[in-house]
Structure formats: C-alpha cells, structure tokens
Amino acid sequence: MNWGSWSEFWSMGGSAFFVWGSYGVAFALIAVELVLVLRRRKHVIHRLQKLRRAAKATAARKEIRQ
C-alpha cells in the first residue's frame, strides 16, 4: 500500500491538480458521453414514434377519402 492516509492519497505528493485534473476530466467526459448516447436513443425513439403516428393518421385519412 502506497498511502499512509486518505489525505495523503488525495494530495498525490503535491501533484493533486495534475493527476485529479486528468482523471476528473476523463471520467466526466465519459459520463457526459454516456448520458448523451442514452438521451439520443430516447429522442430518436420519441421522434420516430411521432412520425409513425402521423403517417398512420394520413394513411387512415386517405382510406376514408377513397
């Protein structure tokens, strides 16, 4: 084990900014990407469902006209 205490761990031998800055940004970006990917899927499904309903409605209207 390298660290005597948690505070020693967090200070990273004086390089806390550089080490945690690296990991922090990296994991933040990964988190953001995951959120974006899931949100995109929700958006796409929502949008396509709306289109599908609209298409069904026009098809029905056309049926009635004929």
């Binding site: 289109l51 298409a55 026009t58 098809a59 056309k62």
Partner: protein
C-alpha cells in the same frame, strides 16, 4: 422504353410517395400532375438518376439506370427548375458547352440556328447574367432544339416564365418530338394545348 416499378421517395422525415408504377413508350407525352409540393420534381430527379430511390427501380430498355448510368444518360435529356447557365458565358457559349459535354453536335452553326429559333440572336454575345428571366429559360430550352435524336426528354416546368409565343412554339416542338417516336415526361401547372394526346399521371394518387 422507360419503366418505373414500385418507386418510393423519402425526403427528410416524409415519405412523399410510394408504389409509383409507370411505363413510358415511344411517342408518348406523359404529364406528371399534382398540386405544389406533391413530389413531382423529386420524381423527375429519380427518373433521371440524380437521386437514389428509397425503394423500387427505374429501368431503361429493361436495364436499371443506376447500374448502366452512362448508356442511359446517352439517351436522356433533363431540364430542371434552373436553366443551368453560367452567368459569365454568353448564350451561345453556354449552349455549345452543354452540347459538347454531352457528346452532341456542337458546331457553331447548329447552335446559332437553335438560338435563332428561340429568338435570342440579338443577345447572342451578352453574358447570361443580364438576361431576363424568360430569356434565361429560353436558352436552357434551346438544348431541346439540339437534341432531336435523344429519345427521352425529362422536363420540369418547361413553360415557366415564357411568353405566349414561346409557349406555343415549345409545345409544337414537343409534339414533333413525340411524332418522331420520342418520349417526353414533364410537369407543368399551366394549361398548354398539345396536338399529341397527353397522358396525365396524377402523382397525388400515389402520395402518402
């Protein structure tokens, strides 16, 4: 012979039309009808291979046009909403360039005759950008007078912006093309009298 089978066209989120079936035989003049925005221009662009269909196929003499593009383009002439003129070139230069790049007869005299015919001899050497709306359109249409031997003409609203004389003249020329066994597929909202029996293909029926 142009054959269209089960054609469907998607633009953005909207399926414009589906299951369009159409056959055009020599001597026929087909007019694609339908209100604004029904998809006439989109259909013509599919017919001439500028865009790819969502479903279905277009065949020329039994061969798919996307597989035998060059042979099809040899037999086809398309005029769209725009006149395809370069603004800096004169009518005669534009005409010669169009003919030459399509491998057609592009002699000075032939082009002059076509310009004469559309009544632009006077504007022969003006840059195209100063022409009036109707004159631009006429230069675009002059290509028809150089393409007697091209069997299939696909024309998008050819009569727009033309004055009455020009409309009459063009209608006669289309008649003549059909009479010599050519095919014309076109759209127009104007009521133009043809001698040939016009076959109306109402796109509104195929619209989704």
């Amino acid at each position: 012979m142009l054959e269209v089978t089960e054609l469907a066209c998607l633009r953005g989120d909207r399926l414009l039309f589906a299951d369009v079936n159409l056959t055009v035989s020599p001597g026929e003049l087909v007019r694609i009808g339908g209100p604004n925005g029904v998809g006439k221009t989109s259909l013509l662009r599919l017919l001439c291979g500028l865009s790819l269909p969502e479903h279905g196929a277009v065949r020329w003499h039994g061969r798919r046009i996307d597989r035998h593009r060059d042979a099809f383009h040899q037999d086809m002439l398309y005029l769209g909403h725009s006149a395809a003129l370069n603004d800096l070139l004169s009518p005669i230069e534009n005409l010669r360039f169009a003919a030459a790049t399509h491998g057609r007869d592009a002699h000075e005299a032939t082009c002059e005759a076509a310009l004469e015919r559309i009544g632009l001899s006077l504007q022969r050497d003006l840059p195209a950008k100063v022409l009036s709306q109707g004159q631009r359109r006429r230069v675009g249409l002059a290509r028809l007078y150089l393409s007697e031997d091209v069997p299939l003409w696909i024309l998008d609203e050819p009569f727009v912006a033309l004055d009455v004389d020009a409309v009459r003249d063009l209608a006669e020329w289309l008649d003549a093309h059909c009479a010599r066994g050519g095919m014309v597929v076109m759209t127009t909202h104007q009521d133009v009298p043809f001698r040939t029996a016009v076959r109306l293909f109402d796109l509104a029926e195929a619209a989704c």
